[in-house]
C-alpha cells in the first residue's frame, strides 16, 4: 500500500505523556481508504489500542483528536476536529466534535490526528509548531478559566496559533468537562476535558506553516467547491443560519413539541415568547464562522440588561436554551447567556450540566433533596440564581456540586431514595432537547447511539423537518431502517470531517462529498457515494463493537423510564408511547445485528471488512453459541 495520498496531512502524531515522547507515523493508505479520516480514524485507533474495561481516567485511556482529509481546504464546512476517547461519563466509546480553526491548523502543522496517551507527571501543555513538539510546563495556567489560559498560552507561544484547552472542571475531573477552543467553540460532550485533566494535559497549542494543501485534481476540486457554494446559497436555510444559527429553531422546535421542559416532565413553558427568533436576534452584536464555511453560523450576543449586563459571548445554541433554560423552567435569556458563558469558562458541557441540574431541581421539588443538602440553595423551577451557583459548584466540586459533577446517572445513584427515576440519560449521557416520543426514528437513534443520549449521530431530517420529504414522525413503523440510514450518513460525513448542519439541510450530500473527497485525495474508492455509505456503516459497526467489548448489549439501548411509561401529552403525538422493543427489533434487523443481543453478527462484520473485529468479539466470548458458526 504505497499509493500516494493527496490532501491528507500525512502524519499521525502519537504523544506519550508518561514518557514525554512524541512519535510521528505516516498516515497509512489503507487506514485512509477504509475509514476516510476524523471520526473513522478515531474509532479505528481506539479499537486497536484500547483494551476492554480500561478505566477512562487512568493513563491507559487514549484520546484521539483527528481531522478529515478536506480540513484546511476550501471545501465548505469540512474543517472540524473530532475527539474520540473512552468516556468517563458513559464508560463507552465516545466521539465529541468541535468547530473553529483548530482542525485546519492541525492540517497546516502536518497532522491528520494527534493521539494522546499516558499521564504527565505535572501540569503540561503541548506546543506543536510544524515538526516541533514541545512538552511545556502548565503549572502557571493550571486552575485558570479557559479565557485566561487561552490568553496566556497564546502569549507564551504564538499569537496566531490555535488551541484547545480545558478549564478548572477538567482539571478537577468533573465528569462532563469539555474541551474548549480559542474561539469559544467546544468539543463539549462526554468528558473529553475530564480525560485530558486526568492526563495532566491542560492544552494543545498548534501552529502550522504548510498552508497550501496539495490536491489530487485541483480543477475538479475547485469546480465541486463552486457547486457546493452555489448549493449553499440556494438553500432556504442558508440565510437563516447565517443570521441566527440554531437560535432559529428554538421556538420552532418548541412549537413542534420537541422541546421538553422541567426535566422532561412536560412540554409547555411560560414566557416561551422570549425564545422567538425576532427576540433572540436583538442580542446579536457580532458574527463569525468556522474555517472554510460560508454558512458562518456563529453569533456573538451581548447581555444588554440585568445583573449580567455587558458580557459579550458566543451565543447559547438551541440545546443550551433548553438545558440551561427550558429544562429548568427558565426563560430569562440574559441569565441563560451568562450561564452558557460560565460553562465555557469553567469548561463543562452545557447539555449534561444543565440536565443534571434539572434533575436536582426536580429532586428538590419532590423533597428527595433538601435545602440542607443543596447547601442552602432553593432549587425552584424558573429561578436562574441556583443554576448559576450550581454551575460553579459543579465545576469546582464544592458541596452538592461534588455529587452533581458525576453526571446525572451516577449522581442519582449516590443520592439514592429513588432519584434514579429522574436522571434523564441514555448510557450515562444526558439526553439533548428532543423528546423521543414525537420523532421515533430520531428517538431510536438516541437509544442506539454509540455515545449514549446524543442527537448528533443520527439527526433525522425526514422526521424533524420533512427534508427532503416528510415521514410521519409519530408512527413507529419503518423507523429501524430510517434510523440506520441517518446514522450511517452522519458517520461518513464525520469521517470526512464534515459539519452536520449543512448535511441536515441537504446543502452537502453523498454525491457532492464523494466528488470532494476523490478530487482532493485521489483515493479511487471515494468516487462512489455507495462506498461512502459502506464506510459509514463500517464505522458505526466498529463503534458498536467497541461498546460490545465493554459489555454493552440490547439492554443498554433504551430511553429513560419516564419516556417509556408516560404517554406524550399533546399534538402531534398525543397518547403516544415510545415503542422501544418493536423499533429495536426492526433496527437490529436493518443492521443485520443479532436481534436478541444487539451484537453485530460475524457475517455483517465480515461484509464490512471487519473480520478482525468479529474474531476479537468471538475470542472475548461476546457471541452466543449459534453465531460462532456463522
Amino acid at each position: 500500500m504505497s499509493k500516494r495520498l493527496y490532501s491528507y496531512a500525512g502524519k499521525i502524531l502519537w504523544i506519550d505523556l508518561t514518557a514525554n515522547v512524541a512519535k510521528k507515523l505516516d498516515t497509512n493508505y489503507k487506514l485512509a481508504r477504509d475509514l476516510i479520516g476524523a471520526r473513522g480514524f478515531g474509532a479505528k485507533i481506539l479499537w486497536d489500542n484500547l483494551k476492554p474495561e480500561v478505566n477512562p481516567l487512568t493513563p491507559d485511556n487514549i484520546l484521539v483528536i483527528s481531522i478529515g482529509p478536506l480540513a484546511g481546504t476550501t471545501a465548505q464546512s469540512f474543517s472540524r476536529f473530532f475527539v474520540m476517547f473512552k468516556s468517563p461519563l458513559t464508560g463507552t466509546y465516545f466521539r465529541s466534535v468541535g468547530g473553529g480553526y483548530f482542525g485546519a491548523e492541525m492540517k497546516f502543522a502536518g497532522y491528520d490526528a494527534i493521539v494522546v496517551s499516558g499521564r504527565a507527571k505535572k501540569p503540561t501543555y503541548l506546543w506543536i509548531h510544524d515538526n516541533e513538539v514541545e512538552f511545556r510546563d502548565a503549572s502557571n495556567i493550571w486552575g485558570l478559566l479557559t479565557n485566561y489560559s487561552t490568553e496566556l498560552l497564546l502569549e507564551e507561544t504564538d499569537e496566531s496559533a490555535r488551541l484547545i484547552t480545558i478549564g478548572p472542571a477538567g482539571e478537577k475531573l468533573v465528569k462532563m468537562a469539555s474541551i474548549q477552543t480559542d474561539d469559544q467553540r467546544s468539543a463539549a460532550r462526554g468528558g473529553g476535558g475530564t480525560v485530558l485533566g486526568s492526563k495532566n494535559l491542560k492544552a494543545i497549542v498548534v501552529k502550522g506553516t504548510k498552508r497550501k494543501v496539495e490536491l489530487f485534481d485541483e480543477g475538479l476540486f475547485k469546480e465541486t467547491v463552486k457547486e457546493q457554494i452555489e448549493k449553499y446559497r440556494k438553500s432556504p436555510a442558508f440565510e437563516n443560519f447565517r443570521s441566527l444559527g440554531t437560535n432559529g429553531i428554538v421556538y420552532l422546535f418548541y412549537t413542534l413539541g420537541h422541546f421538553p421542559t422541567y426535566n422532561f416532565k412536560q412540554l409547555e413553558l411560560e414566557n416561551v415568547d422570549r425564545f422567538k427568533p425576532e427576540t433572540l436576534e436583538t442580542y446579536v452584536v457580532k458574527y463569525g464562522g468556522c474555517y472554510g464555511c460560508a454558512m458562518g453560523c456563529w453569533q456573538f450576543m451581548k447581555i444588554s440588561k440585568g445583573p449580567f449586563a455587558g458580557h459579550v459571548w458566543d451565543k447559547p445554541e438551541y440545546e443550551t436554551y433548553w438545558s440551561l433554560g427550558g429544562a429548568l423552567g427558565i426563560t430569562n435569556v440574559e441569565a441563560i447567556m451568562y450561564a452558557n458563558m460560565l460553562c465555557d469558562l469553567y469548561g463543562v458541557d452545557t447539555i449534561s450540566t444543565g440536565s443534571t441540574i434539572a434533575m436536582a431541581y426536580e429532586l428538590y421539588e419532590k423533597g428527595i433533596l433538601t435545602k440542607r443538602e443543596t447547601d442552602g440553595l432553593e432549587l425552584n423551577w424558573g429561578d436562574p440564581e441556583p443554576l448559576i451557583e450550581l454551575i460553579r459548584k459543579i465545576a469546582l466540586k464544592e458541596g452538592i456540586g461534588r455529587i452533581l459533577a458525576e453526571g446525572s446517572r451516577k449522581a442519582a445513584e449516590l443520592i439514592g431514595r429513588g432519584a434514579e427515576k429522574y436522571a434523564m440519560h441514555i448510557k450515562g449521557l444526558e439526553l439533548p432537547a428532543y423528546d423521543p416520543r414525537v420523532a421515533k426514528a430520531h428517538g431510536l437513534s438516541l437509544a442506539t447511539s454509540p455515545i449514549g443520549g446524543s442527537h448528533e449521530l443520527g439527526w433525522n431530517r425526514y422526521e424533524l423537518l420533512g427534508i427532503p420529504e416528510k415521514i410521519d414522525p409519530v408512527s413507529p413503523e419503518g423507523k429501524g431502517l430510517i434510523c440506520k440510514e441517518a446514522q450511517d450518513e452522519t458517520a461518513f460525513n464525520e469521517a470526512a470531517g464534515g459539519c452536520n448542519f449543512p448535511l441536515s439541510n441537504l446543502m452537502n450530500y453523498d454525491e457532492l462529498i464523494a466528488k470532494l473527497l476523490y478530487s482532493a485525495t485521489g483515493v479511487g474508492e471515494f468516487k462512489d457515494p455507495k462506498y461512502l455509505w459502506m464506510v459509514g456503516e463500517r464505522i458505526f459497526n466498529l463503534e458498536r463493537a467497541f461498546n460490545v467489548r465493554e459489555k454493552v448489549t440490547r439492554k443498554d439501548d433504551t430511553v429513560p423510564e419516564r419516556i417509556l411509561v408516560t404517554t406524550y401529552p399533546r399534538t402531534p403525538a398525543k397518547g403516544s408511547l415510545f415503542e422501544l422493543d418493536k423499533m429495536l427489533d426492526e433496527y437490529y434487523k436493518a443492521r443485520s445485528w443479532d436481534i436478541e443481543t444487539g451484537i453485530p453478527t460475524r457475517k455483517k462484520l465480515e461484509e464490512l471488512d471487519l473480520k478482525y473485529v468479529a474474531d476479537e468479539l468471538e475470542q472475548l466470548g461476546c457471541y452466543r453459541p449459534r453465531n460462532i458458526s456463522k
Partner: protein, 90 residues
C-alpha cells in the same frame, strides 16, 4: 370559523405582521390561506411571495404543533397555524 395565525422571524418581517386571528370560511385549507385569505390582509404581492416561499420550502408551516407540507391540510375552528423560516440543526 376563527383561526390563529402567527408569523415568526423573517416570515414576520415579510408579512409585516406577527399574530392575527382570522375569520375564515369552513373548509379552509393551507392553500386557501395563501390564495384567498392572505391577499386580503397582507396584500396580493406579499401573499404570493409567501406562497412561493412555501413551495420552495423556505417556509415551514406548523398546524397545531404538526409539521405540514401539504396544501390540502384542512383547518378547523380554533386552529393555530405558524409560519416559520426554514432552519435546521440543533
Amino acid at each position: 370559523m376563527r383561526i390563529h395565525v402567527e408569523f415568526v422571524g423573517m416570515v414576520a418581517e415579510k408579512a409585516k405582521r406577527k399574530c392575527v386571528w382570522l375569520e375564515t370560511e369552513v373548509n379552509t385549507t393551507v392553500e386557501t390561506l395563501f390564495f384567498k385569505v392572505f391577499p386580503s390582509f397582507l396584500g396580493k404581492e406579499v401573499a404570493e411571495t409567501l406562497f412561493k416561499s412555501f413551495l420552495n420550502r423556505e417556509i415551514i408551516v406548523v398546524v397545531n404543533g404538526t409539521l405540514t407540507t401539504e396544501f390540502t391540510t384542512m383547518l378547523n375552528d380554533g386552529d393555530k397555524v405558524y409560519f416559520f423560516p426554514m432552519a435546521s440543526g440543533g
